[in-house]
């Protein structure tokens, strides 16, 4: 996979600090599964946490804390864990492992819901302040101009699109904040399927966008 668009440093720092909403953390984990470059950057953003942990003054634990934990080490289920299974379904080459576990079917068999001309979506219903959804856009279709109240992360799972920021292909991420306005256009004859996670609702601009906003609910 030839990945050319990566996360902002600040996004990986939030991931390491554990402060991203669940859907955005899922999306970061998916990109990391595919991207050695960002995996290495994440080792560094994690290390900031390790250094801070070392710098903390210790807090007193209850007197029997160690014994309480030691007594649990031999309980069933506390044996050295094998690498955890990456989802309930068989590995799917289409999908990064963290997403495989969440979806019950391969991409093409998911219960896509049509939300406009050439646009289908599937809400992953993860909860939290924003939304996490899969978007499936037909060739030649563009998503209306929109900006973002908060942050929006997009990971391309299949196909590609072009927008003001460049060309985004499988494995690439678009890491956008409220200042960016963009209008992605699917630029091959293949559907573009993306995972999109936000921490606030999107804002569409222009008349078309205002008309479509309540409908798409993006």
């Amino acid at each position: 996979m030839n990945i050319s668009h990566h996360f902002d440093d600040a996004t990986l720092m939030a991931y390491s600090a554990g402060t991203l909403p669940q859907g955005m953390a899922l999306l970061v984990a998916c990109h990391l599964h595919w991207c050695p470059h960002c995996r290495q950057r994440t080792e560094h953003t994690n290390a900031i946490g390790g250094v801070l942990l070392d710098n903390l003054a210790p807090s007193a634990l209850s007197e029997d804390a160690l014994n309480a934990v030691l007594s649990r080490l031999d309980e069933p289920g506390q044996e050295f864990a094998a690498a955890e299974p990456q989802g309930t379904r068989q590995q799917d080459d289409d999908l990064p492992a963290p997403l495989t576990g969440l979806l019950e079917q391969p991409l093409d068999q998911l219960p896509w819901r049509r939300i406009g001309y050439g646009v289908r979506q599937l809400d992953l219903e993860l909860g939290g302040p924003g939304a996490t959804r899969l978007l499936r856009i037909s060739p030649g279709v563009s998503v209306p101009h929109h900006t973002h109240g908060g942050n929006e992360l997009t990971l391309i799972l299949r196909g590609s699109y072009n927008d003001e920021l460049g060309r985004f292909c499988r494995g690439d991420v678009a890491d956008l904040d409220g200042d960016v306005e963009h209008q992605p256009l699917v630029d091959t004859d293949e559907d573009c399927i993306c995972l999109i996670a936000t921490d606030a609702p999107l804002k569409f601009s222009g008349l078309m966008g205002r008309l479509v906003q309540p409908f798409i609910g993006l």
Binding site: A10, S59, L61, V69, Q78, Q86
Partner: protein, 206 residues
Amino acid sequence: MQEYEAEGGDVNAAAVTPHTMTSEERRKQVRDEWSACLTRLAETHDKSEFARLFGYFAPRVKSYILRLGMPDATAEEVTQEAMLLVWRKAHLFNRTKASASTWIFTLARNQSIDRMRRDKMPMYELPEEEPDPDHRDMGEHSVIEDRMKAAIATLPENQAQVLHLSYYEGKSHSEIAEQLGIPLGSVKSRLRLAFSKLKAHWGEDA
């Protein structure tokens, strides 16, 4: 069980520590010892190694969790759960990718998130068998982290502040913006500046 009541310093007591060592060398030695201890735990399943790790890390993990805003009793419980994970997952620790401190930080962080959300944040773990061909061998992570520790101390106050609010207090970037009364973009740019300064201390661009 009393013999397990090891103080955090025990690991180092055995090591030769000439007083001519600089504090940086000494910190590196401490860090290496804990990474070695965790590696031994994975190989031997020796409970006394676990008890040593517990003596050093559990009180720090509890401090971290308390800072995230949990009440003492919950922090105690989550600390114990995180330390159980150290036992269960020790074989997944890879000292070329993280120091013991960093690895335990990520376990404590995920355990805290689980507790706070009552549902899981997907934790990223590279499966053991998955080769990572592009990974450059950077040697012991402790070297990098020691340089970084020195670097954090030199950050301008406003950059150190956002780093602390994010990592220590678990605040989102938007929450930090609100708390400090600055735009979200400024929070991010301070974090980016801090990170690029820390990267300079890694000796190579990451």
